[in-house]
């Protein structure tokens, strides 16, 4: 169902370009505090780099780099990181998702503790968005038959 692309120019160019797209996606996630960006936008850019691997190379090549088991783990890891940050605030004595109390375990003042709490939830959101978009793309492009699509 997916015919491999046999063009040497596209393969070489994409092999050079994909690490920079991923680096830009990580930059957008981390710089959500000072410029437009954040977790959702950076997760989409990271998923776009994976779509480029599938389009330029073959599907088994993409499966070799990002297996389905790792994809399923990343889907729920992001939501877990988000809820874990809120639960740590609850353990230390404040309300749920009240990051000001995190200065008891991090060596910063209460204002910067909210800064680092926001950073950790943006990382969680970015991981979940990337894994879900990759999973949706692979479902739709193989028509549901992940392993049998390679045999045709």
């Amino acid at each position: 169902m997916i015919t491999p692309l046999e063009n040497i120019i596209i393969k070489t160019l994409c092999r050079l370009l994909i690490p920079f797209i991923q680096l830009f996606g990580l930059y957008v996630i981390v710089h959500g505090h000072g410029s437009p960006g954040g977790g959702f936008q950076g997760g989409c850019i990271l998923a776009a780099s994976f779509v480029l691997v599938v389009v330029a190379f073959d599907l088994p090549e993409a499966k070799r780099r990002f297996s389905e088991k790792l994809n399923n783990i990343f889907c729920s890891l992001g939501v877990f990181i988000y809820a874990w940050t809120g639960w740590m605030c609850l353990l230390l004595g404040a309300n749920f998702l009240d990051y000001g109390i995190l200065n008891k375990i991090l060596p910063v003042n209460p204002v910067m503790a909210r800064y680092y709490g926001m950073f950790s939830i943006e990382v969680g959101v970015g991981i979940t968005v990337m894994a879900i978009m990759v999973s949706l793309f692979l479902d739709l492009v193989t028509g549901g038959k992940h392993e049998e699509a390679l045999d045709e």
Partner: protein
């Protein structure tokens, strides 16, 4: 069928336009949307959270509970697609 849809659309549009008679004018600085809680978010975001970007501080700190369930909705959409589209291997 199409004429019935057209009549329903006209009635809905007329009800919505009738409801805008009481709305504040466009660009009114005394509207309730700009006096109730947003001056506090705008003035105190650097002092209380240390983040200069107001969009991120409202999304992730002042209204962080909504973002948690937005992420859960994305997760549920992915699981629904897995349940409906993937077929079991023989």
């Amino acid at each position: 069928m199409k004429s019935l849809a057209f009549i329903a659309t006209i009635i809905t549009g007329a009800l919505l336009i009738f409801a805008t008679v009481d709305f504040p004018d466009w660009g009114d600085p005394n509207s309730p949307a700009s006096l109730h809680v947003s001056p506090r978010y705008i003035e105190k975001t650097v002092k209380e959270t240390g983040v200069p970007n107001m969009v991120t501080s409202v999304l992730a700190d002042y209204r962080g509970y909504d973002t948690l369930f937005e992420t859960t909705v994305i997760f549920t959409a992915g699981i629904t697609a897995v349940m409906l589209i993937r077929r079991p291997r023989k």
